[in-house]
Amino acid sequence: MTPDEPNDDLRYLWRSQTDDLPGLSLDIVQTRSRMLERRVQHRNIAEYAAALAVLAILLPAIWTASNVVLAAGGAVLLAGIAYVTYRLHAFGSARTLPSDLGARSCVEFHRAELERQRDLLQNIWTWYLLPFWPGMGLILIGATMERPEHWRFAVGTAVLAVLMAFQIAWMNKRSARTLQEMIDRLKENPVAALRRDPPSLTLAQRLSVWFLTSFLGATAVGFLVGRFFPEVKSSIFGLEHLPPVTRDGLFVLILIVAGVTVQALWWITRRWIKN
């Protein structure tokens, strides 16, 4: 075995490092703790504001819907958004301030984190997919009843949405399985298990989320445009001389722009909350 003496020098060197950071008083620590709580409150306020904004957009849309299927779709979508917001809120709250940092060893702490992530991914159908898809489906059916000539767009979107739902579920199940393997390995060999990166969202999963928010964004933008700038909407859908495929293409373009806008707004909001 290597003698300890040379390493004693290193240990002495390590412990005799010059202190280049200012000390922290109890007041500062308590203030920082309050700031942390305020940040959580700000995040909650932003979430509630976003939920209210969705409510403000969807409620009039439901009220003025031209057929009952569209109205039912809006209502179901609204309920789904409320449920998902609640689940995300509960997940975020549990994540922000773990109170048992000192009660658990590093390996136990790591295992609890993995188990929490696994449970979230395993139950993806019940907390993420099912709340959204029925509402979106009804809206598509209602919109097609309103404008039967756009049936290709409706069918295409529906097929894509269903495929993506299964794809998201499959990806998440796979990630959950990887996490479970890591948890099992953690019990047998913590050293090897801690070396592996936890699974992160794949590009396909990110695209799926992007598609979902794009659809919601397009619904909102479509309503707002129709409500406040009816001439713009009618000029798009009024291009009767264009073939239906081109008009559907224009709608897809709006969907993409709306999606990017929603993503940008969401990114700015998150940055604002973080700071």
């Binding site: 490092q17 000390g23 009660a103």
Partner: protein, 174 residues
């Protein structure tokens, strides 16, 4: 949030008096950038103060402080891990132990090298080496990290070998 324990402030101040320096050094092992390091130290202090609302004395003060500090630091670095350079293990480090890294006479250079070595390690090895450098015994390291004492003893043995190789040019059979 739960009502803080009556002696939360006193426990925190006691911990800071004993381990303030160790927390700062530990932060150096996790964060190279001075601003991020300062943030990490503050995060650890806040986590520590909050944690003492739940301190029931089942673990020693030292074990508690190190667990809070390491768990806070690990939470931060694993969140950034996708963007971070790949970590290595002690065993991998021993295989590449170096020709030009021997006999660092200058203390500052030696310290920089030591920090670079620590920061390249994966989380568990990093925790063990930081605790070893703080002169924490193997039994306590096991309690803090959550490994078996035998596993920690093996790791500490490897740490000694790697440090000797890297800083003193000692030869050994891995």
């Amino acid at each position: 949030m739960a009502e803080p324990a009556a002696d939360q402030d006193a426990l925190y101040q006691q911990a800071v008096a004993a381990y303030s320096g160790a927390i700062k050094r530990l932060a150096r092992g996790y964060e190279q950038d001075p601003d991020k390091r300062r943030d990490l130290v503050q995060d650890i202090h806040v986590a520590l103060w909050r944690s003492f609302a739940h301190f029931a004395g089942r673990a020693s003060m030292r074990t508690w402080v190190y667990r809070v500090a390491h768990n806070t630091a690990i939470s931060r670095i694993t969140r950034r891990r996708a963007r971070a350079p790949t970590f290595v293990t002690l065993d991998e480090l021993a295989e590449t132990a170096g020709e030009d890294a021997t006999r660092a006479v200058d203390r500052r250079i030696a310290l920089e090298r030591l920090l670079a070595l620590i920061q390249s390690l994966d989380p568990l090895d990093r925790q063990v080496i930081l605790l070893y450098l703080e002169d924490v015994d193997a039994q306590s390291i096991a309690a803090i990290v959550g490994l078996s004492p035998g596993n920690v003893a093996t790791k500490v043995h490897r740490i000694k070998q790697v440090l000797a190789q890297r800083f003193h040019g000692a030869r050994h059979d891995a």
